[in-house]
């Protein structure tokens, strides 16, 4: 953009000719191409990849969500069978079904998804910050501690989740072995919806803490030590140093990791799906696992699953926009 204006004669250097009529769209595209063809060529691969991998599926998903398509009424060309598509446009009907609560599934799932996200992000952040503070001090074997605490991150999520599932097993799990050896009664860790919810939150925190810790440790190290020294000279208590130096100093890192963590947790499919298996009451499904069930059990409901997908996307876009707006004045 700046190069474009640079080429025009600087204002006031010569008698400015009367302004030309605005060039047509084609002309402006051609002119832009002539001037910036190099830039276009450079971004073309990215644009094409994005178009194929993001915009096309997104557009097609949006289209499906406005129809009543499912596996029985889409077009089929299989060997001798040629059946045209018989699904049709239903406008916003699917969205109305979901958002008005008529399908009876959306709001209970949404409520639990929000509880799940808030609990996970808040506790993960708190523990991550505490550990980062501990590791930011000069202690012996600091590198060893850091490596140990990053370990959950290095384990593939599904292996970690299966390990937890084995440990939480009510009959043959190690947790119950430990507590019964102390004479306490065995617990059914994954037995009721409430305990299942607590378990999935716990495991997700275990998976999420290392990322938080590493990110916040980086943030802590970027706070200049002089600020702490100055605060100490002024007689600030440790708590005051924390609230007035550490917290503001971490703000840029915090805002980013909380946003990222929220989006990830909101759509965290693997932990809930893998930890609890198939024998659940459905109360522990978050929006994403519920959409998966719609699309991938029995006769697939494409339009229903697409609707949930778009609704999830809109919720997250709305949240991100709102969150960034809120943060801007604080950062300024």
């Amino acid at each position: 953009m700046t190069t474009a204006t640079m080429d025009e004669p600087a204002p006031g250097t010569a008698a400015r000719p009367p302004r030309e009529p605005r060039p047509g769209l084609m002309t402006s595209i051609r002119r832009s191409w002539d001037r910036h063809w190099y830039a276009w060529a450079m971004v073309a691969p990215v644009v094409i990849v994005l178009a194929v991998l993001v915009f096309y599926p997104l557009g097609y998903g949006t289209y499906l969500s406005l129809t009543n398509a499912n596996e029985t009424n889409v077009a089929k060309n299989i060997g001798p069978v040629h059946i045209g598509a018989t699904y049709h446009w239903v406008g916003l009907h699917n969205y109305w079904q979901v958002l008005s609560g008529k399908d009876g599934d959306f709001y209970p799932r949404f409520e639990w998804t929000v509880v799940w996200t808030v609990c996970c992000v808040a506790v993960t952040y708190a523990i991550g910050l505490a550990m980062a503070m501990l590791l930011n001090r000069r202690v012996k074997f600091r590198l060893f501690y850091r490596l140990c605490l990053i370990l959950p991150w290095a384990v593939p999520a599904f292996i970690g989740v299966f390990a937890w599932r084995l440990m939480l097993n009510s009959q043959y799990g190690v947790f119950n072995d430990i507590i019964t050896s102390f004479g306490l009664p065995a617990q059914d860790w994954l037995g009721t919806p409430l305990s299942q919810k607590i378990a999935v939150i716990m495991v997700n925190i275990w998976v999420g803490v290392p990322f938080m810790m590493v990110a916040l440790l980086g943030g802590l190290q970027s706070i200049p030590g002089e600020l702490y020294e100055a605060a100490e000279m002024d007689g600030a208590s440790p708590l005051q140093r924390f609230t007035n130096v550490t917290v503001p100093g971490l703000r840029p890192v915090t805002s980013t990791v909380v946003l990222l963590s929220t989006v990830w947790t909101f759509n965290m499919f693997a932990i809930i799906y893998l930890l609890l298996g198939n024998n659940t009451t459905g109360d522990t499904d978050i929006l994403v696992t519920y959409a998966y069930e719609k699309a991938f059990t029995g006769v697939s409901d494409y339009s229903g699953a697409a609707t949930y997908g778009i609704v999830i996307l809109l919720i997250l876009v709305a949240f991100s926009t709102f969150y960034r707006r809120q943060l801007k004045p604080e950062q300024a």
């Binding site: 299989i78 097993n169 994954l190 029995g298």
Partner: protein, 433 residues
């Protein structure tokens, strides 16, 4: 990441598809008559998706494929083992797009109506795939029918029975396995009292294992003739009330996240005395401390009967189905015929201990296998499930409500009413009481 994989898979599928067409192009043009007259002239490559256990069962199928290729030297079979739990979605995705779909797929009997209604699998009446149909046992043969046509060829069959630990029964002084659910409850109480640390049974919260109780009261998921959802009928309520009673009085406490594994571990280590289970589990049972080297300790009985007096369990097992869009139907039909022939079924039965679907395959040698001998009489109690394309979808809401009932979160009537309401959404045109 997933996109990357699917792109690679798609590329591989396209390449495979091209080579398959290249190999068989000239034969596709042949009229069916000549191919049927001279099977030896059929040539090309076909892909077979096997869902048998990759470690224990698959080698038998791979050996049979070698025999097939020796018999028909112009046909090459591309064997692929696909996990049983994911094959439904994989096959449907491939079948619909036509990319990477197999020519022949081993299919759980419960999926035939769904695949057939979606036009994924070919009707086989009058093709070479079906031969000696009168030799097939009636139950497994019924599973291949959808709207009057035959969409599969029975390969192996199974049903649920009552497996029990004879030692524990002897210790408790019980002479014979229970024949009704009430007897099962009474026997469990005796076992619990007389054999310390052992419970009667382990209820599997998977809704498939609810079928024997439902059938025992004459209940079912839905009635396709009357277009009615029947899962909340008085009979079904009675059945689930009984199931809940068994769970409360006679079962080891269920771990819902690992129900199946814990059930197996508890039974094979002698912590529970009896299980409602299928023949597929016996191989695993025999690795446990209660049965290892003591195969005779494992008893086989039909599932207990309900108040109707009839012991009934769902027909399970696998059929071979042919993909309707296969580029080489003639070879696929021949392969299906070969794999389901009496000779092949005997080989499979002898090596894998699964039950054949042909009467002629139950030879004296096959019946020496204890599992097959144990389950053969039980097969008389097997009856088909309702042949609805949506059966797969119905399991999810039923399962969720059944678990709520077992956990005591909702009453039997409320839970089944909620399941019926969900069924109504999935079965257009059906009335819900």
């Amino acid at each position: 990441m997933r996109r990357g994989i699917s792109a690679v898979a798609m590329a591989a599928a396209i390449v495979l598809g091209v080579t398959a067409c290249g190999g068989s192009g000239s034969d596709d043009k042949n009229d069916k008559g000549s191919a049927a007259k001279d099977p030896a002239a059929v040539s090309g490559t076909i892909t077979y998706w096997d869902t048998s256990d990759a470690k224990n069962e698959a080698p038998t199928y791979q050996a049979l494929i070698k025999d097939f290729e020796a018999k028909y030297p112009h046909i090459k079979v591309n064997y692929q083992n696909v996990d049983f739990t994911t094959v439904e979605q994989k096959f449907k995705a491939a079948a619909q797009s036509g990319k990477g779909a197999p020519d022949v797929v081993r299919t759980d009997v419960g999926l035939i109506p769904e695949y057939a209604s979606l036009h994924y699998i070919a009707p086989l009446d009058g093709t070479t795939a079906l031969s000696d149909t009168q030799d097939f046992v009636a139950g497994p043969m019924d599973t291949t029918k959808y709207e009057g046509k035959t969409y599969g060829v029975p390969s192996v069959t199974d049903t649920l029975g009552l497996l029990y630990n004879k030692d524990i029964f002897a210790k408790a002084g019980i002479a014979a396995p229970p024949t009704t659910w009430d007897e099962l409850i009474a026997d469990s109480a005796t076992i619990k009292a007389k054999v310390p640390g052992v419970e009667g049974t382990y209820v599997n919260p998977d809704s498939y294992f609810l079928f024997p109780v439902l059938f025992g009261e004459g209940a079912d998921l839905a009635d396709p003739a009357a277009k009615k959802v029947t899962i909340n009928s008085p009979e079904a309520v009675k059945a689930v009330t009984e199931a809940k009673k068994i769970y409360d009085t006679s079962s080891l406490k269920v771990d819902f996240a690992s129900a199946y594994d814990n059930m197996q571990t508890s039974f094979k280590t002698g912590k529970v005395a009896m299980l409602v289970q299928g023949p597929w589990s016996v191989g695993d049972d025999l690795t446990g401390s209660a049965f290892q080297g003591k195969e005779a300790n494992l008893g086989y009985a039909p599932v207990p009967a309900g108040s109707t007096g009839k012991a009934l369990a769902p027909t399970g097992g696998h059929d071979l189905a042919v993909y309707q869009g296969s580029g080489n139907l003639d070879a696929a039909y021949l392969f299906t015929q070969f794999m389901t022939s009496s000779a092949s079924q005997q080989t499979i039965a002898l090596k894998n201990g699964t039950l054949p679907t042909r009467t002629s395959a139950y030879t004296a040698e096959v019946l020496k296998n204890q599992t097959i001998a144990g389950f053969k009489p039980i097969m008389d109690t097997a009856r088909p499930r309702v042949a609805l394309p949506q059966v797969g979808s119905l399991f999810t809401p039923l399962q969720q409500e059944y678990i709520k009932i077992l956990q005591g979160k909702s009453s039997v009537q409320d839970g089944l009413d909620a399941a019926a309401k969900e069924f109504g959404k999935l079965l257009p045109g059906y009335t819900v009481q």
